[in-house]
């Protein structure tokens, strides 16, 4: 453990933690835009700057990227820090005056909207990189990336065409602080053509990356719950069959096998569409089936075929 001082308060933090983590754990709030606990620190927005004193030298640095060390003295609300933050917000506001989150910050730090006096740049993306990092680090799809340099820098799908690797999971839309990523779940629509009426959907579209994918429909409740392509990726990575995703998470209930009644007849194993039931040893020489819940899709095929009534729903 490492001991440091934040705003005059002694704080203990684990080794390798960042100043931001240590401060938040101690209940000291530092504003951020580009930080997410699930992602690696990036230091794009510079909103989390703090004053750090070590060995008699004082510097201003972003707390989300600065690692803690013994004897560090951190001030999160000194005049220099507030002034720096105001500058950051001012620049953000001039780029993205219509983003609600930025407006809120401006109000909190009493930053005047100078940009309103000039021609407004109606940009929404603050280039925090959360969507790009979520796509690469968490989802590991690598569908979107930064493109261009300097003032032309944008987040985009490759070659500004439909993102081939996108699985429409919606993580980018979920993490985006500005709400610029447009993810829509479309209901079933009837498309009328001279040949006849065709039903389409339900679908999910993400307009920014120009993708549109079918949604999986729950076999129990009939509601769409996730894109088929997304489920296929999970199935491939974790060794599931696609049947595993036939029901939505809220419609699943897991059966259990009464090992006293089980005669190891193999019937449930044969019908299980995902191979979630396997034999285990029962005593010295005998065997019994068991449902491995991590693989169970909750379809209840096994309860229907058990001739002994040994498979019961909890």
């Amino acid at each position: 453990m490492v001991t440091l001082t934040i705003n005059g308060k002694n704080v203990k933090a684990r080794e390798g933690a960042t100043v931001l983590e240590a401060a938040r754990a101690a209940g000291i709030e530092i504003p951020t835009l580009c930080h997410n606990d699930a992602l690696e620190p990036y230091g794009a927005c510079r909103l989390c700057i703090v004053e750090i004193e070590q060995n008699g030298r004082t510097i201003i640095d972003s707390s989300c990227t600065y690692p803690v060390s013994d004897g560090l003295t951190v001030t999160t609300d000194s005049d220099r820090v507030i002034e720096g933050r105001k500058l950051v917000i001012e620049l953000l506001l001039s780029r993205c005056p219509n983003v609600k989150k930025v407006q809120e910050l401006a109000q909190e730090y009493e930053v005047a909207d100078f940009a309103r006096e000039w021609d407004k740049d109606n940009e929404y993306c603050i280039l925090c990189g959360l969507c790009v990092r979520a796509c690469n680090e968490v989802v590991q799809a690598g569908a979107i990336q930064f493109a261009g340099n300097g003032s032309d820098r944008i987040v985009d799908s490759p070659f500004h065409t439909s993102a081939e690797d996108c699985i429409a999971c919606g993580s980018c839309a979920f993490v985006c602080p500005t709400g610029i990523i447009k993810k829509n779940d479309l209901e079933t629509t009837a498309v009328c053509t001279p040949e006849g009426t065709e039903e389409e959907g339900p679908k999910r579209e993400i307009l920014n990356w120009q993708v549109e994918y079918d949604l999986q429909i729950c076999t129990a409740c009939g509601n769409p719950f996730a894109p088929v392509i997304h489920l296929k990726k999970i199935a491939e990575e974790h060794g599931y069959q696609m049947e595993f995703f036939s029901r939505c998470p809220s419609c699943r209930s897991y059966p259990e096998i009464d090992e006293e009644l089980c005669t190891a007849c193999n019937a449930c194993i044969v019908v299980c569409p995902v191979g979630a039931i396997q034999f285990i040893e029962k005593g010295q020489e005998d065997q019994t089936s068991r449902i491995f819940k991590q693989n169970c899709c909750g379809c209840h095929s096994c309860t229907d075929v058990c001739g002994w009534g040994a498979v019961k729903i909890q």
Binding site: G239, T263, A264, C265, N266, G275, Q278, V305, W308
Partner: protein
């Protein structure tokens, strides 16, 4: 490049035989099975064989050698030393809803022989162990797919994550409702003809009034549900039977029915001193047999490609033939096509002609075809003129029609029953679909 030359999915009689034969020929083969132990039978309805008569395109000769029995598969050309004895069955009994008994008996040549499936598996396992075959047990095969030059097989060991292993040729011997057949799309043009479970009690000290022979019990009054229960004699100390069910409706009805039959029906006195030695069950999905039992680098053996009723000898024979086919295929010859020719021309009558399946199942269809009341009267009448022959001339397929022929010749039979029986004689599978079948 490939993990194995050959992967055998499913280690029943066909799978173990195939593994052992391949290993003897110097091919690196591995058997994968979900079971914990391979030398024990867990399947119901598996303890009999038709020897010394034509069945499954084979004529099996039985030769007793002390405690062992040598089965010679005369047409396929190999033999298997079964480390046990067999028991001949000379009688067959049918019991109607009202408790009327009808008996068919042969004096000289048995209808069929009873063997112990567990001992059969033990013999095969011993041969495989002698050959040095490796088996992966407690492992389920989730999927199989074609890759260039071979097959990739997704497996999961108990409680572990999915792994992928590769092989040059895949043998699917995973029985009825084969997962491999399903995954490789072989069931696309095979309409499911019926599905259902059977449960089985293995019991000793069953005091039936019969001197051996199998007993088929019909009727709602006897069983509590529609369907039938079959008592098959089996090897054991005293009056040992396997009591098998085939009941309509939800699977668990089979269990309720067998309990009703043993404890509450008019035959419960048979089971007063009985002791349950084991409980077994199986579920089956019946598909029409494959016309081409291979695809790409995969070959299908036994019940995975047939409709059902390969039985232990048929599966063992398929294991042998399949191993030969795979060996040829690995040498660059057309082994799979030869296997297909054998499959379609000489083996498994039921693969060629679906009508055979109807003939085979005919004696269990008297009740739904004729109706319970007619059955009672018919059996009462026929009881006075028992059907006894010296030697039953034919094979299991002609049995149903022979019984019908006898019933028709019983004096005093009403003309409309005679007509109905005549119709049953010529009934096709489509006719049976109209009357509800338990399986």
């Amino acid at each position: 490049m490939f993990d194995y030359d050959v992967i055998v999915v499913g280690c029943g009689p066909a799978g173990i035989m195939a593994c052992a034969e391949l290993k003897k020929r110097g091919i690196k083969a591995v058997g994968i099975d979900v079971k914990v132990r391979l030398d024990k039978n867990f399947r119901a309805a598996a303890g009999f064989l038709f020897d010394e008569q034509d069945f499954n395109g084979e004529f099996i000769k039985t030769e007793s050698r002390g405690d062992n029995t040598l089965f010679t598969f005369t047409k396929t050309g190999f033999s298997y030393l079964y480390p046990g004895t067999t028991m001949p069955v000379y009688q067959s009994h049918l019991i109607s809803n009202g408790g009327k008994i009808y008996t068919v008996s042969c004096r000289k040549k048995p209808f069929m022989s009873i063997m112990d499936p567990t001992v059969w598996l033990q013999g095969l396992c011993r041969d495989a162990a002698d050959a040095g075959v490796t088996f992966i047990t407690k492992t389920i095969v989730l999927n199989a797919r074609e890759i260039p030059g071979g097959m990739a097989v997704d497996i999961r060991r108990v409680g572990k994550r999915k792994e992928t292993i590769t092989c040059r040729k895949l043998i699917a011997a995973d029985g009825l409702s084969s997962r491999i057949a399903k995954r490789l799309g072989m069931n696309k043009d095979r309409p499911c003809m019926g599905q259902g479970p059977t449960v089985e009690y293995h019991m000793e000290n069953v005091d039936t009034p019969f001197d051996g022979g199998d007993v088929g019990v019909f009727g709602r009054d006897n069983l509590g549900y529609d369907g039938y229960i079959l008592l098959v004699p089996c090897l054991g100390k005293t009056k040992t039977y396997r009591v098998e069910t085939a009941i309509y409706g939800p699977a668990v009805n089979n269990y309720y029915s067998i309990e009703y039959f043993i404890h509450k029906s008019r035959f419960s006195s048979w089971f007063k001193n009985a002791k349950i030695l084991g409980k077994y069950a199986a579920t089956m999905e019946l598909y029409p047999p494959m016309k081409k039992p291979y695809t790409g680098n995969t070959i299908f053996l036994g019940d995975s490609a047939a409709m059902a009723e390969s039985l232990y000898p048929g599966a063992t024979m398929c294991g042998y033939k399949g191993a030969l086919a795979v060996e040829k295929e690995l040498l660059g010859e057309k082994g799979f096509e030869e296997y297909t020719a054998w499959w379609n021309n000489s083996a498994f009558e039921m693969t060629k002609d679906m009508q055979m399946m109807a003939e085979y199942a005919k004696r269990f269809l008297f009740e739904p075809w004729m109706g319970s009341a007619v059955m009672d009267e018919l059996f009462e009448l026929a009881g006075k003129y028992p059907f006894v022959v010296d030697e039953f001339n034919g094979n299991p397929f002609s049995f149903g029609n022979a019984v019908i022929g006898h019933l028709q010749s019983v004096p005093g039979i009403q003309p409309q029953w005679k007509q109905r029986l005549e119709a049953l004689k010529h009934a096709t599978l489509a006719d049976f679909e109209q009357i509800s079948m338990p399986q």
